[in-house]
């Protein structure tokens, strides 16, 4: 009852980065409980995945060969059976879109507490202390859970595990009840293509909900013109249909790394930051001095965009 079971994430034949990060998070917890770190890799080319995941700190890798792509029913069944076999104290999964499609079900099926989107985890062997954000990142909280628990971890919070490990690799013969599989993946589609590739731009003038109305967008367009820059945006602007999908920066949009990223009226929610934190220089224009974007900005103007943006445009006209 002191082991940790972590689950890898992959899509369309490739392991996702968080699969290596979860090894680091899991190893740390296993050290604190004095247990082993087990890693589960389910569906797809599991042997190839297991080889890649065999990094320092992993004690055992359990492969479940069933189907090519992610299916939450298969994952839920495989993980609950592995849980019964290994009796770990903690189950860790990525807080990815797929993680959120099975982790709560695993917790419910096993009658365990669940804590999601953690950015820090610590244990004395009995109590799990999970750090997570609330209110769109305005505050952080610590939460205590006693006994066993399921926790999902936020991507890019733990460093990726490195080195070559000597984990045992075993095929786990999960008994998947096909009748209980109630959803079928029929395909994938890439969205957000088109003529503009914001990930190529040197300077991005990026607009968020602070712009309030579609009619105010010309303000941003004029600035982008004056700077010879490209326009990008946060999600609500695309959700509202004010800009096309290929302008969206973030987790479900594009990852961008321009020389300069100017975030105008963008709060800096984690899903947005995931797409732009690699920018060389980040400038934030925001009326809220406590907006989470300030935590990653290099330069900030705490002021009304409707005053600052026209003044900036003027500078270059």
């Amino acid at each position: 009852m002191s082991d940790v079971l972590a689950v890898a994430d992959h899509r369309r034949g490739e392991l996702r980065d968080v699969s290596y990060e979860i090894i680091t998070a899991g190893r740390q917890l296993a050290d604190e409980t004095g247990g082993d770190l087990h890693l589960a890799v389910i569906s797809g080319t599991v042997d190839d995945f297991a080889e890649k995941l065999n990094r320092e700190g992993v004690d055992a890798i359990h492969t479940v060969s069933h189907g090519e792509e992610f299916n939450h029913d298969v994952y839920t069944q495989a993980i609950t059976q592995l849980y019964d076999e290994l009796a770990p104290q903690f189950v860790l999964t990525p807080n990815s879109v797929n993680g959120l499609d099975y982790a709560p079900a695993v917790a419910k099926a096993l009658d365990l507490p669940v804590v999601t989107d953690t950015v820090g985890l610590e244990t004395d062997g009995d109590t799990l202390v999970a750090t997570r954000e609330m209110y769109g990142g305005k505050v952080e909280t610590t939460n205590e859970l006693s006994g066993e628990a399921v926790a999902t971890i936020r991507g890019a919070e733990w460093p990726a595990a490195e080195g070559t490990g000597d984990a045992s690799v075993e095929a786990f013969d999960a008994d998947i009840d096909e009748d209980a599989v109630g959803s079928t993946v029929t395909g994938f589609e890439e969205v957000g293509g088109g003529d503009v590739d914001i990930s190529e731009a040197d300077v991005l003038v990026s607009v968020g909900r602070g712009i309030e109305e579609e009619d105010n967008l010309p303000l941003i367009e004029e600035l982008a013109d004056a700077l010879d820059a490209t326009i990008s945006s946060s999600r609500p602007i695309v959700d509202n249909g004010w800009l096309p999908k290929n302008r969206q920066v973030g987790q479900s949009g594009k990852v961008v790394t321009p020389d300069v990223y100017i975030a105008i009226g963008i709060s800096g929610a984690v899903q947005h930051v995931a797409g732009m934190k690699g920018s060389d220089t980040i400038v934030a224009i925001n009326t809220d001095p406590n907006a989470p974007i300030m935590d990653i900005a290099d330069y900030a103007i705490h002021d009304d965009l409707f005053d600052v943006v026209p003044a900036l445009t003027e500078e270059f006209q």
Binding site: P104, A109, L227, I282, V283, P289, D298
Partner: protein, 263 residues
């Protein structure tokens, strides 16, 4: 077909705020309809307008104060609402996923809908887990982070798109009854019309306690104990430019010229 939509009134925080103990001091908090639930309500109402749903019911766990938010959902077209509240919920500072699952599941069992729509996440505590947890608990099928739903639902199957990371969408068929967690952008939520707002006042809003639902008081004991709340530390050394818009714009202008990225 009957559709049930879970609707949360979320807490919003003012720009400047103070933390008292493990909560934000009351005077800095506001309330709003959860953004993700707004899209879920719209999707349900559109299914009704398309002749696929006969009834749209909303469910909210929350105190009397949140009836304004519930009326908003009714004004947008839901037929009736259920609100769950109980003395035993009064002092609870964090309703965790398992507690919400117990309570919402009891209502869903009573209402027996074909389709349950929740938001992907609540904007305030953002567990992003309640919908899938409820589905597993009830033996419903599910799909998380849905940004498209085909409006035919023929043969008891919902054809959806799940929005994955990096601009990839997964096309999935989900058997009914099912819980779908709805992502923003799936539709364009309407504003309530004046007529809708008037009608909402007359629509049924039924209040139930845990006893009425046959849920034990112990169900609301949270597995999670909130032990600390604080403002996150800054990861960067931010330079804040002070002064009027002209001055700060000039500073930014200089930076852009220094970086060689501006004309």
């Amino acid at each position: 077909m009957k559709i049930l939509v879970t609707v949360k009134e979320v807490a919003t925080v003012e720009d400047e705020f103070e933390i008292e103990g493990t909560a934000i001091a009351d005077q800095y908090l506001g309330a709003d309809l959860n953004e993700w639930d707004d899209y879920a309500i719209e999707e349900a109402v559109q299914l009704q307008e398309d002749g696929i749903a006969d009834e749209v019911v909303t469910v909210t766990i929350g105190p009397e104060d949140c009836e304004q938010t519930i009326r908003q959902a009714l004004a947008k077209g839901a037929d009736r609402a259920v609100r769950i509240w109980d003395d035993s919920l009064e002092g609870v500072d964090l309703l965790d996923v398992n507690a919400k699952t117990e309570i919402l599941s009891a209502v869903i069992e009573e209402e027996d809908p074909d389709l349950v729509l929740t938001g992907v996440q609540a904007g305030d505590d953002s567990f992003g887990a309640t919908g899938v947890s409820v589905a597993e608990h009830l033996g419903y099928q599910w799909g998380a982070v849905v940004n498209h739903l085909e409006h035919d639902l023929d043969d008891g199957v919902a054809s959806v798109r799940r929005e994955l990371e990096g601009g990839v969408e997964e096309l999935t068929d989900v058997e009914l009854p099912a819980v779908l967690t709805i992502q923003t952008g799936i539709n364009e939520p309407r504003y309530a019309s004046l007529r809708g707002i008037r009608q909402a006042q007359r629509k049924p809003l039924d209040v139930q306690g845990l006893d009425d639902l046959g849920v034990d008081d112990s169900a609301v004991d949270s597995d999670l104990e909130l032990t600390d709340m604080y403002e996150p530390e800054s990861e960067s050394d931010v330079t804040v430019w002070e002064g009027g818009a002209e001055e700060t714009a000039a500073e930014l202008g200089d930076l852009l010229r220094d970086k060689g990225v501006a004309p």
